[in-house]
């Protein structure tokens, strides 16, 4: 089966610019997660969806970050006005409710904000 697909793989921005990340989960996985992984740290959950519904976005900086999954399949994470502190790898993961397996990650998008 195909894994989680993310694009782009890399992004370089100036502060104040906007950027969008795209994720295509594993087919049949109803739950989709976005994580932020700063350099030399563990992944930190930003938001996750079950189908098209947001289950938890409490860790998403809501003033500049937004995430959608309108049809319960692909998802987009957007940063409206990037800051240097947003420099990190953004990881998408997916899982299937009731499946006895932890989420599987995509390759990630490495973001650098200059």
């Amino acid at each position: 089966e195909a894994g989680v697909t993310q694009s782009p793989r890399y992004a370089v921005l100036q502060e104040g610019q906007a950027v969008s990340f795209w994720c295509d989960p594993i087919s049949g996985h109803d739950t989709l997660y976005w994580y932020q992984q700063p350099r030399d740290q563990g992944p930190q959950l930003l938001v996750y969806f079950r189908d098209e519904a947001v289950i938890d976005n409490s860790q998403l900086p809501s003033d500049r970050f937004s995430a959608v999954r309108p049809k319960g399949t692909n998802s987009t994470l957007k940063i409206q006005s990037a800051k240097q502190g947003d420099t990190a790898t953004y990881l998408c993961a997916s899982s299937r409710q009731g499946n006895n397996q932890a989420p599987l990650f995509g390759e990630g998008t490495r973001l650098s904000v200059l």
Binding site: Q41, P43, L45, Y48, I55, T89, L91, Q97, G98, L104
Partner: protein, 113 residues
């Protein structure tokens, strides 16, 4: 508040030795503990996982030992190989249905040939 802690931050062993990576947690409602490994410029990959109903989970050279009373677990890698050199993350989830994982800060393992 760091709910999942890992130690040591970095570990170097010789090829063939056993590497021991430690993890502790605070929330007693955590009921699922996966370990992920991450190679440079790659994303985390699921390695092995355990539930509190067991105190040991083995998969080849990788074994998790779990102590529910002390809220501690450890990953043992026997006969370590240079290809095992990676960062290892311990994670925890309070509900297996949602897989809302909380990750530790990782242990960087280097296996010297």
């Amino acid at each position: 508040q760091q709910q999942v802690r890992q130690s040591p931050q970095s570990l170097t062993v010789w090829e063939g030795e056993t590497a021991i990576l430690n993890c502790s947690y605070e929330d007693s409602t955590f009921d699922y503990f996966p370990w992920y490994w991450q190679f440079p410029r790659e994303s985390p990959a699921l390695l092995i996982a355990i539930r509190p109903v067991s105190n040991k989970k083995e998969d080849g050279r990788f074994t998790i030992f779990f102590n529910k009373r002390e809220k501690k677990l450890s990953l043992h890698i026997t006969d370590s190989q240079p290809g095992d050199s990676a960062t290892y993350f311990c994670a925890a989830s309070a509900s297996s249905g949602s897989w809302q994982l909380i990750f530790g800060s990782g242990t960087q393992l280097t296996v010297m040939p």
